[in-house]
């Protein structure tokens, strides 16, 4: 038996009895960032593959949500900072070892690109849109001429953004649950799945919806594969990581994780999308909302459970 008592002083708020420095802001941002990454990825991908007209929603309409998601995410990030007035310090240095520094600079590229992309396509949604200044019109014409280059930048930066939302966690030495690089691809996959779901929701074109339902099914498969591998890795590792995995395999986070993330967020929408592809009529909103919900829950649970996992000493 081992009993540990802290007998003095140690009652730093948010650290004792259990670390809880990151609340709703970080997982909310990670979801919004992942969603934006997913939307931008598909827009860039189908532009590069010259399928703009086939997948109009994915290339022109859905990415308009990306700058909104990114800006809301940035607000959440800003709210998370405790020393808010010094936030500009992020941009006075580049620290290659710090994922947060990578993230800050990636956002510096991704956010303007998402806005440029929206500006390029805004007349598709609002035909009477008027920029008022010729300079802006000329600038947009210039961007339109270099659409492919922008699409390539967008493709790469959206993948970095999607992966970074997971790597942000895995770079923290002290939290065994986060110490797995699988979180990077897992969060990227989750973001892509959320992006594909939004395209399905917004699209009115049957072929496009079918294509994205297929894509989403495939991505959900990859997510399940990554989740299984994540647990395999944990269970074959050290005691602290076995304990971390046990938070989801019998511990406090078991029910929410397997029910909300895996069952409702992945398996049920996968079955519904599969049935739809087979020709059954299913309201499209149901699988879409479930995928988005699962994506949000994944971030919240990994964030909270990670803060509950720790080294033993």
């Amino acid at each position: 038996m081992r009993e540990e008592i802290i007998i003095s002083g140690r009652n730093n708020p948010l650290i004792d009895p259990q670390l809880h420095v990151w609340h709703w802001e970080i997982p909310t941002y990670l979801f919004l960032g992942g969603l934006a990454a997913g939307l931008m990825f598909f827009a860039a991908l189908y532009t590069i593959r010259n399928k703009e007209n086939e997948y109009k929603t994915a290339v022109q309409i859905a990415p308009m949500l990306a700058p909104i998601a990114l800006m809301l995410g940035l607000v959440a990030l800003f709210l998370d900072l405790h020393h808010k007035l010094y936030f500009w310090r992020l941009y006075t240095t580049i620290r290659l070892e710090s994922p947060m520094s990578w993230g800050a600079w990636t956002l510096m590229v991704v956010t303007p690109i998402s806005m440029i992309w929206t500006a390029m396509h805004i007349k598709e949604v609002f035909p009477r849109w008027n920029w008022k200044f010729d300079v802006i019109e000329e600038l947009i014409e210039f961007f339109k001429k270099n659409k492919k280059t922008i699409a390539w930048i967008m493709l790469i930066s959206s993948v970095i953004l999607g992966i970074y939302t997971g790597i942000l966690f895995s770079a923290f030495n002290a939290r065994p649950l986060w110490n797995t690089s699988i979180l990077g691809p897992l969060f990227l996959a989750s973001g892509l799945s959320a992006g594909a779901a939004v395209v399905i929701w917004m699209s009115k074109n049957h072929a496009e919806r079918k294509r994205f339902a297929q894509l989403d099914l495939m991505i959900i498969g990859i997510e399940l594969f990554l989740i299984i591998h994540m647990f395999m890795g944990f269970l074959a590792s050290t005691q602290v990581q076995i304990d971390a995995a046990n938070l989801f395999l019998g511990g406090a986070y078991t029910a929410p994780f397997w029910i909300f993330v895996v069952l409702l967020g992945m398996i049920v929408p996968a079955i519904l999308e599969g049935m739809e592809l087979k020709g059954y009529k299913i309201p499209v909103a149901i699988p879409v909302v479930l995928v988005l919900f699962g994506s949000v829950m994944l971030r919240f649970l990994i964030s909270n459970a990670g803060q509950a996992s720790r080294w033993l000493y």
């Binding site: 038996m1 081992r2 009993e3 540990e4 008592i5 802290i6 007998i7 003095s8 002083g9 140690r10 009652n11 730093n12 708020p13 948010l14 650290i15 004792d16 670390l19 420095v21 990151w22 998370d80 900072l81 405790h82 020393h83 808010k84 010094y86 936030f87 310090r89 992020l90 006075t92 240095t93 620290r95 070892e97 710090s98 994922p99 947060m100 520094s101 993230g103 800050a104 770079a171 923290f172 030495n173 002290a174 939290r175 050290t238 990670g306 803060q307 720790r310 080294w311 033993l312 000493y313």
Partner: protein, 177 residues
């Protein structure tokens, strides 16, 4: 120069004088602390073993907090001490989540705060406040690179351990056992 601290778990009585001294010296806000005392009870009655440890930032050689800081506010300073520059810290808490020893906290003013090895005292040739005040003289502070320093001497003579060496942080806080 590599500053380090050795704490004798056999001599420590857990009086918390180190905690109060630190709070006074460093003007730590009420309800927070940069060092604390842990009492670990091991075994089953009647075979019980108790260990008292005065813990604080380990001033690691391979600090996860310095690595993950996005602004460079957390940095290595004189003698390998790990310090936070107040006006560069954005309060993102990345260092807090990355520290295996949970040694950092958010100061009510917004920046992240922690033990400094009382570098302001050490520079003047004094001991850190916790060491200076210890009534059982169970703490030793000094330069590991200097074989004649108190801490080097005691670490040569006695068995010691560091906390979670498997975390790969190379801590500079030794516990004599």
């Amino acid at each position: 120069m590599r500053y380090a601290m050795a704490i004798d778990t056999k001599k420590c009585v857990g009086c918390s004088d180190c905690v109060v001294a630190c709070q006074t010296e460093n003007d730590v806000p009420i309800g927070y602390c940069r060092d604390w005392v842990v009492e670990v009870m091991d075994g089953t009655y009647p075979q019980l073993e108790m260990e008292l440890r005065s813990e604080r930032c380990n001033h690691c050689e391979n600090s996860p907090c310095v690595r993950c800081c996005p602004t460079g506010a957390s940095h290595y300073s004189e003698g390998g001490t790990v310090l936070v520059t107040k006006n560069e810290c954005i309060g993102c808490s990345a260092c807090i989540t990355s520290c295996p020893y949970d040694a950092r906290f958010v100061h009510p003013e917004g920046y992240v705060d922690k033990c400094t090895f009382c570098i302001h005292r050490v520079k003047k040739g004094m001991q850190p406040a916790c060491v200076a005040v210890c009534p059982t003289k169970c703490m030793y502070f000094g330069d590991l690179d200097d074989p004649r320093s108190e801490v080097s001497q005691i670490l040569k003579k006695r068995k010691s351990k560091t906390l979670i060496p498997e975390a790969g942080t190379k801590p500079h806080l030794y516990f004599l056992i």
